[in-house]
Symmetry: C2
């Protein structure tokens, strides 16, 4: 290999690294660690699907870390496992529909939180209703009623959020904001 090519290959690495580092910095929005973010970037630029061993070598990190990193990326639907005839090792490539990746993450995370919060609201409301019914302490009663109002507000908010999430779930969002946006003029 000529030293010239070597230098050019380094420049390519450098360019890729500029983008990978930025991904690593912002990936926490997907609840993914920076190093799993670098892993994502590495697989993103790879021409072929990668094995855990290749990732390990490329990243200079343990295979164990690759395994856990890839799993978190898989769970976020940002990476997928692919099969290739004659290859025993697991192969991974990035999910190539980024719109889908984003939607998946957005939906899963917010819907999950929303459901749990709504359950909590229902339970709390019930506890407060019971308390109001049985208490003889007027102050407590008043406080509980005040709390109930706040919870009803919260409930409405979560209903709204559920509807927003549904935009992404149904794909309706792509009617509102079309996918094939060309570069803004």
């Amino acid at each position: 290999m000529r030293s010239e090519s070597k230098k050019d290959m380094d420049k390519l690495e450098e360019a890729r690294n500029r983008f990978i580092s930025e991904i690593a910095k912002n990936i926490h929005l997907y609840n993914i660690t920076p190093s799993a973010g670098r892993l994502y970037g590495t697989v993103f630029f790879s021409k072929e699907p990668m094995t855990l061993d290749e990732m390990s070598k490329e990243m200079g990190m343990s295979k164990t870390s690759m395994s856990t990193g890839i799993r978190s990326l898989l769970e976020a639907n940002m990476v997928e496992r692919v099969w290739e005839r004659g290859i025993r090792k697991d192969l991974y490539k990035v999910e190539d529909d980024w719109y889908k990746s984003f939607s998946n993450v957005f939906i899963n995370r917010w819907r999950n939180a929303t459901e749990l919060n709504m359950d909590a609201i229902q339970e709390t409301k019930e506890m407060l209703h019971n308390l109001i019914e049985q208490t003889e302490d007027e102050d407590v009663k008043e406080l509980a009623e005040h709390d109930l109002e706040k919870l009803v507000y919260a409930e409405n908010y979560y209903n709204w959020l559920t509807d927003v999430i549904a935009l992404f779930e149904t794909g309706e969002i792509f009617d509102i904001v079309p996918k094939n946006t060309e570069k803004h003029e």
Copy 2:
């Protein structure tokens, strides 16, 4: 105070705690620590705006933690400072427009990440263009061109995301998904 009232007050605390604990569990979606989430819940149920000292006492944590916790909530627009005549201490209450809170968090976090990523894409593209122009290594050239294609795709995706974010920024989202949703039937 009668022992009966004491027990009822405990029950109120218990009910509130059910909701507060759930918030604490899911607040990481806003990049906020669980304990700052509990703090939010505490202020949420308080009838009056609270001081740092009151929070400290209520939460059984240091005032320093209250200070940093409140700051993170302030930055997320989830809490606001209020003024009351004759009171020297800083008073805080929860931002009572949750739709606004959500939008703020959503907008700030995603727009910021999107801008940084788009900057990185521009820079990386430039680096790759330069490399393609000057390299004599055909393999490197091919790889760089391949990378460029991927970056163009990413660019389109971020344009789309920018438009989605704009729905929330402009408030257009409330035309699409109306706020005053009554409880789903």
